[in-house]
């Protein structure tokens, strides 16, 4: 399984990368929505995108809108991982097509729980 990690913070990308690789995922990273979109356009088909909201060039909300509008990426699961935690922001993101939402700060267990809800825990985790 493959995860595309989209956050302008290298530290945050590193944290998320460690969590999902422990679960058996391969990963690709992008610093903002446009870079992520470039990966998709180039043929990357991730199972999961972990998406920050506030990023330069193209933010996470715009990325979600762009991806959900495109039939090529209909099966990609979109999970926001962000400090945006107002009720209205979460509603907006879900309405735009995000499947799940994790509020920063989060523990690794939180990501695992959400992936379990989404049926995205890899069946066999490499030793």
């Amino acid at each position: 399984m493959h995860a595309l990690i989209i956050d302008d913070s290298r530290a945050m990308r590193s944290i998320l990368r460690r969590i999902v690789t422990d679960l058996g995922y391969d990963t690709t990273e992008a610093e903002h929505g446009q870079a992520a979109l470039d990966h998709l356009e180039a043929g990357l088909v991730p199972d999961l995108c972990l998406i920050d909201w506030n990023m330069p060039v193209m933010d996470g909300y715009q990325f979600v809108q762009r991806v959900r509008d495109d039939a090529r990426w209909r099966d990609v699961t979109l999970m926001m991982v962000t400090t945006e935690s107002e009720h209205g922001q979460i509603v907006r993101a879900l309405a735009a097509g995000a499947h799940e939402y994790v509020i920063k700060p989060f523990t690794p267990d939180a990501i695992v729980d959400k992936l379990e809800l989404l049926g995205l825990l890899v069946a066999e985790v490499p030793a």
Binding site: P105, A110, E116
Partner: protein
């Protein structure tokens, strides 16, 4: 001051049995840091004295586990019991209560209330129009009951096991926390109750969640609790224990039924009740 090895091993075993959480050698300072406030509250001079208290005090064991398993609770914990609730237990209760159109549920040893409120969310989604439901959330800790009444949870707690759609539908922000909606809080009532002692007057329940708490009690008390719970469960009702718990070695008065990935316990009626003989225990 540092915790004795035997004390640490006892605590590590206790936590591992109950929560699967591991306190490995090297984490002694953490156990000590988390138990010291409880030791002081109990009037013990140090953690080792407190740990020996834990060996015979179920209520303190509960507090110790809570302190040692911070952030180990979640919404819809283990998921399968909630699926069983939605797919089998609730429909069964609805079928049995056509006359009253009322469902009664007990969340025993409710802690901070995530189990009770998880169930209330499912009721909101699946209870037919015109029906009422009541969830009684009980605990031996009045501090916990206050938390349940307030229905407020931190962001970190909200991240655990709760679908985002449920978050926005059933919660609103209050300061740095999230608060359960008034509609759901209306379904949940709290009551102080110590499982190890005689119960106060209680309704008859259609469904009882008694998860991950029997482990704190010795064999005789476990049997006694199950006997007293049995008296409060409707003939058509169900009891759910923790995923690693069973009544198998404890009592004949429950039948086990597999529902999805969980074991549901049905009360066996005394021989002669309703003209039925007591069924033989099914091979497991």
């Amino acid at each position: 001051m540092s915790i004795a090895e035997s004390s640490f091993r006892y605590v590590a075993d206790l936590v591992r049995r109950e929560t699967s959480m591991l306190y490995e050698p090297g984490k002694e300072y953490l156990v000590e840091a988390r138990l010291l406030p409880l030791a002081r509250e109990a009037g013990d001079s140090d953690v080792d004295v407190y740990v020996s208290r834990l060996m015979s005090d179920a209520a303190e064991r509960r507090k110790a586990i809570d302190a040692l398993t911070i952030n180990e609770t979640s919404w819809f914990r283990d998921n399968a019991p909630y699926q069983a609730f939605t797919e089998v237990l609730l429909p069964r209760a609805i079928a049995a209560n056509q006359a009253t159109r009322r469902i009664s549920i007990w969340s025993a040893a409710c802690s901070s209330g995530q189990e009770a409120y998880s169930l209330s969310m499912l009721l909101d989604q699946h209870l037919p129009l015109g029906w009422t439901a009541e969830i009684l959330a009980t605990d031996v800790s009045t501090a916990m009951l206050e938390r349940v009444k307030a229905g407020r949870y931190s962001q970190v707690e909200m991240n655990r096991g709760l679908p985002a759609t449920h978050l926005v539908r059933y919660f609103s922000r209050v300061g740095s926390e999230w608060e359960v909606s008034a509609d759901l809080r209306r379904i949940v009532t709290t009551q102080h109750l110590n499982l190890a002692t005689t119960f106060p007057p209680l309704p008859t329940f259609d469904i009882v969640f008694l998860r991950n708490v029997l482990i704190y009690f010795d064999l005789d008390t476990k049997r006694d609790i199950l006997r007293r719970v049995h008296a409060r469960v409707a003939p058509h009702g169900s009891l759910l224990l923790g995923s690693s718990e069973t009544t198998l070695d404890l009592t004949d008065s429950w039948e086990r039924e597999a529902v999805g990935r969980v074991q549901v316990h049905r009360p066996v009626q005394p021989a002669g009740a309703f003209g039925l003989a007591a069924p033989t225990r099914a091979a497991v």
